[in-house]
C-alpha cells in the first residue's frame, strides 16, 4: 500500500481537454451501470455495506439511487466542457481522498471532478466502509482500463497513521472527509477538509396547503431516512415559517405518518447503543416538556425507528437542533425568516444543504435569505441527497481549485 502511495506522485495527470471527455464518457458508462440495482457489483457492494453498517438493503439502495441520480451522461459531459473551458493549468496532478465511513459513496462528486479534470486519484477508504469505491473503481477498469488506471483505491486501518501521513505528503492535494478532529489531525496546508456539517429545510405556508402537505411530508421524510440521516446532507430540522395555527403541527404529524410508512419500504437500521441512547434522550426531553405544558409535541414510532419532535415558537431553547440521526427530526414553527436566521446562527458556517418549499414568492424570499447565509446546496424537498455535480460542497474550495478560471 505504501508503494501505491509513493507511486501516485509519479503518475500522469493534470491535463484536461480530450482526456476530460474520455473520462466523462467512462464515468457516464460506469454510473449508468451503478444506477441499476441489478448491476452485480452494486448489488454485491450494497449487500456487504448494509450488512456491516446495520442498514436495510432497501434503505441503502434508495440512498445510493439518490446519490448517483445527478451523474448522468449529459451532466458529466457538460462538466468536462466546463473543465476544458476553465483553462486552469495549475490543477493538482495527484489528489488523495480520505473517505469517511458514515455514508457510502460520500466524496463521489469530488472524485468524479478530479478524474475529469485529469488528476490521478488515490482513494483511501474508511475502516467502516471500504467497499463502495473499491467496487466502483473495478467497474471503471472493466469499461476502460487505461483511464481507470488514474484511480487507485487503498485501505488501511486508522492506526496506520504513517501511511496516511505518506499519502498526505506524496499527493499535491488531499481531500479529507470526516469529523473536525480527523481533519485537524492532518494539519497540512495541502489538505482540503470537508468537516462536520448539517442540513435543514425551510417551509412556508404555501407548501402546507391541503393539496401539497402530504407530498411535502413524504419528500421530507425521505430526506430524513436516506443514509439513516448520518450524512452532511441529512435533514436535521424543518423550520416552518409563519404558518397558520396548526399547520406546522399538521406537517409534523404527516411527516410522522410518512416515516412510519417509509419504515415498511425502507426498514430502519440497527441502531448502535450509544446512538439509541441519544435518540432516547431526545424523546424523553420532548415527552417531559410536553407533559409540563410546553408547546412541544412528540410523535414516535413503537421502538426507536423514527421520532418527530414538533415545537411551536416561543420554546425555551432557540438553538439549532442537531439530531442524533436514525430518523429523528425536529419540526419547528418560527414566526418569520428573521427568527429562522437567529435559530441557524448556532450552526453558522456548518450548513451544507437547505430544502426549500413554499409558493413561488415565498420560495424566492427564502432563497434570497439563504443566499445571504451562504448555503452550498439549496434544493427542493426530497432532493437533499442528490446535489448536482458542480455542488459547492463545503463552500466550494475544491470546485474552485479544479475549474474556476483564474
Amino acid at each position: 500500500m505504501s508503494a501505491s502511495v509513493a507511486g501516485a506522485a509519479r503518475g500522469p495527470g493534470g491535463v484536461a481537454g480530450p482526456d476530460a471527455e474520455r473520462m466523462a464518457d467512462t464515468l457516464a458508462r460506469a454510473f449508468a451501470l451503478w444506477r441499476s440495482r441489478n448491476y452485480a457489483r452494486r448489488r454485491e457492494a450494497v449487500g456487504a455495506i448494509a450488512h456491516s453498517a446495520g442498514y436495510s438493503v432497501a434503505t441503502l439502495d434508495n440512498s445510493i439511487d439518490a446519490l448517483l441520480r445527478p451523474f448522468t451522461a449529459e451532466a458529466l459531459k457538460s462538466f468536462a466542457a466546463l473543465v476544458s473551458a476553465s483553462g486552469r493549468a495549475d490543477r493538482p496532478n495527484t489528489i488523495g481522498f480520505i473517505a469517511a465511513g458514515n455514508v457510502a459513496g460520500a466524496g463521489i462528486h469530488e472524485i468524479a471532478i478530479a478524474l475529469i479534470a485529469g488528476a490521478r486519484v488515490i482513494v483511501k477508504t474508511a475502516s467502516a466502509e471500504p467497499i463502495f469505491f473499491a467496487q466502483f473503481a473495478r467497474t471503471l477498469a472493466e469499461i476502460d482500463p487505461e483511464t481507470a488506471a488514474r484511480i487507485e483505491v487503498v485501505h488501511w486501518s486508522r492506526a496506520r497513521a504513517d501511511l496516511t501521513a505518506a499519502l498526505v505528503a506524496k499527493c499535491e492535494r488531499v481531500v479529507a472527509y470526516g469529523d473536525d478532529s480527523t481533519i485537524e489531525s492532518l494539519h497540512r496546508p495541502n489538505v482540503i477538509g470537508f468537516g462536520s456539517r448539517v442540513s435543514a429545510a425551510v417551509v412556508a405556508g404555501g407548501a402546507i396547503i391541503p393539496s401539497r402537505i402530504d407530498g411535502l411530508a413524504e419528500a421530507l421524510a425521505r430526506d430524513v431516512a436516506l443514509f439513516e440521516q448520518l450524512g452532511c446532507l441529512s435533514l436535521h430540522q424543518v423550520f416552518v415559517v409563519g404558518p397558520a395555527e396548526g399547520a406546522a403541527s399538521a406537517l409534523a404529524m404527516r411527516m410522522s405518518a410518512a416515516l412510519e410508512s417509509l419504515g415498511k419500504s425502507m426498514p430502519p437500521a440497527r441502531i448502535p447503543l450509544s446512538d439509541a441512547a441519544q435518540v432516547r434522550a431526545v424523546r424523553e426531553r420532548a415527552r417531559w416538556r410536553a407533559i409540563a405544558g410546553e408547546p412541544v409535541e412528540l410523535f414516535e414510532g413503537r421502538a426507536l425507528e423514527w421520532t418527530v419532535v414538533f415545537e411551536s415558537d416561543g420554546a425555551l431553547n432557540d438553538s439549532f437542533k442537531v439530531s442524533p440521526g436514525f430518523r429523528t427530526v425536529h419540526v419547528t414553527a418560527v414566526r418569520n425568516l428573521a427568527e429562522f436566521r437567529e435559530r441557524v446562527d448556532s450552526v453558522a458556517g456548518r450548513i451544507e444543504a437547505m430544502a426549500v418549499a413554499g409558493d413561488e414568492s415565498e420560495a424566492a424570499e427564502i432563497r434570497a435569505t439563504l443566499a445571504t447565509i451562504g448555503i452550498p446546496y439549496v434544493c427542493a424537498p426530497g432532493e437533499m441527497q442528490s446535489p448536482p455535480l458542480d455542488w459547492r460542497h463545503g463552500g466550494g474550495a475544491f470546485l474552485d481549485l479544479m475549474v474556476r478560471r483564474r
Binding site: A106, A126, D179, D180, L230, A276, W288, N317
Partner: protein
C-alpha cells in the same frame, strides 16, 4: 406504619427479601400521589394495579425533573421539605432540574448509612475538609446537604473551603499543611473539578503533602465543570502523588440531585472481596436497585451488558423512585460500572454529531 416509616425502617435494617414488596408499595403510593408521574404512567398504558414486578415499574428520565414537579401536590411547601436543584451545567440554557424532598430525614438516613459503610467503614471521626459549599452557603445543592450531614456525623473538626463561586485554594493548602503537621488522618470531600483545581495548584507550586495514613477523599461529578476532564485513574494517581492518599482511600461517588441514594467505588478499604484498586465498580446501598436498560425496549439487559443506568431508589419515596439516566453502564452481580454519557456518532464522519455541537456551543 406509613410508607415513609417503612422505607426509613428498611434503610436502618435492610431486608433484601422485602425489597420488591416495598418497592411495589412505594410505586403505588407515588402513582396515587404524584400527578405528573401518574400521567406519565397512564401515557405508557400502565395502571398501578397491573404492575407485578419492579421491572414493570415505569422509570422517568432524569430530565423529567427539569420539567415537572415530581412530588405530591404541595410537597414543596410542607414543613421541613427541601428542594434541590441540579447544577444546570450539562444543558446550559435549559432549566435546572428540581427534586422536591418532602422528608429530608430519609435522604439523610440514606446518605449517612451508605457513607458510613463506604467512606468510614473504620468508624473514625476525623478532621474534614469540604471543597464544596456546605448547605448554609448553597441550600439548593443536594451535594451541599450531603457534605453538611457528613460533617455532622463524621467530623471531629472541619473546614468548609468553598463558596458558591470558587474553592479557596489558599485555605485548603493551610488545612493540608496543618493536617500533615498533626499527622492525624483527614477526609476531603468535593467535586472532581475541585480536586482537579487543587491538584493543579499544588503541582504548579511544587507542593506535595504527606497526609497521615488513613486519610481519605471522596470526589464526585466527574467531568462536570472541567474544561479538560481529569480521568478517574489520574485522580487516584494525583491523590497519591500530591497528598499521599492511598489508592484504596480515593473513593468516587456517583450520585445525582434526582436520587436520594448514592453509589461509591468498591475498594479494598470498604469491600473485603475487592483487591484491585484500579478497576472500579460502584456499590449501591441495599435500598437502591440498579439495572442497565435497553434504550429501545426499556427492559433490563442481562448482567454485564451495557445499557442506560436506571435506578429504583426507595429513599425517593416522596417523589419518584424509578429514574432512568442518560448514562451508559452495566451491572454485574449488583455492582455497577459507569461508562458515562452516551456521545453517539462514532461513525458520523462529515455529519455534525450532537456531542461536537454541544462542545462548540459550550453546553457541556
Amino acid at each position: 406504619m406509613s410508607i415513609y416509616e417503612q422505607v426509613l425502617s428498611f434503610i436502618h435494617r435492610p431486608e433484601p427479601e422485602e425489597f420488591q414488596r416495598l418497592a411495589l408499595d412505594v410505586f403505588r403510593h407515588q402513582f396515587e400521589t404524584v400527578r405528573a408521574y401518574r400521567s406519565y404512567c397512564e401515557g405508557c398504558g400502565i395502571e398501578a394495579g397491573a404492575v407485578r414486578t419492579i421491572d414493570d415499574i415505569p422509570a422517568v428520565s432524569n430530565v423529567a425533573f427539569k420539567y415537572s414537579d415530581l412530588a405530591a401536590d404541595g410537597a414543596a411547601r410542607a414543613p421541613g421539605a427541601a428542594v434541590f436543584l441540579t447544577s444546570g451545567t450539562t444543558q446550559g440554557r435549559e432549566r435546572r432540574g428540581r427534586h422536591i424532598v418532602a422528608r429530608p430525614e430519609i435522604y439523610r438516613a440514606s446518605a449517612i448509612s451508605h457513607l458510613s459503610k463506604m467512606l468510614f467503614p473504620d468508624a473514625r471521626r476525623m478532621s474534614m475538609l469540604a471543597m464544596h459549599p456546605t448547605d448554609d452557603a448553597m441550600p439548593e445543592s443536594s451535594l451541599s446537604a450531603m457534605i453538611t450531614w457528613s460533617i455532622e456525623e463524621f467530623a471531629s473538626t472541619h473546614l468548609a473551603a468553598a463558596s458558591r463561586d470558587k474553592v479557596d485554594i489558599e485555605a485548603v493548602t493551610v488545612f493540608l499543611a496543618e493536617a500533615e503537621a498533626g499527622q492525624d488522618p483527614v477526609c476531603i470531600m468535593g467535586t472532581t473539578a475541585a480536586f482537579a483545581a487543587l491538584f493543579s495548584a499544588l503541582s504548579g507550586a511544587g507542593i506535595r503533602h504527606r497526609l497521615a495514613p488513613g486519610s481519605r477523599m471522596m470526589d464526585t461529578g466527574g467531568a462536570k465543570g472541567q474544561g479538560v476532564p481529569i480521568p478517574a485513574a489520574e485522580v487516584i494517581a494525583r491523590a497519591g502523588e500530591l497528598l499521599a492518599i492511598a489508592p484504596a482511600m480515593v473513593i468516587n461517588e456517583y450520585g445525582m440531585t434526582e436520587l436520594c441514594s448514592q453509589l461509591y467505588d468498591a475498594t479494598p478499604f470498604n469491600c473485603q472481596d475487592v483487591s484491585d484498586v484500579q478497576e472500579r465498580y460502584k456499590v449501591p446501598p441495599p435500598w437502591l436497585r440498579v439495572t442497565a436498560r435497553d434504550p429501545i425496549t426499556l427492559r433490563p439487559v442481562p448482567d454485564g451488558e451495557i445499557g442506560l443506568l436506571t435506578f429504583f431508589d426507595l429513599a425517593n419515596v416522596g417523589s419518584v423512585s424509578a429514574v432512568m439516566t442518560e448514562d451508559l453502564g452495566c451491572v454485574e452481580r449488583g455492582r455497577v460500572r459507569v461508562i458515562g454519557r452516551a456521545v453517539g456518532g462514532e461513525a458520523r464522519g462529515c455529519a455534525l454529531a450532537i456531542g461536537q455541537f454541544n462542545a462548540a456551543q459550550g453546553l457541556r
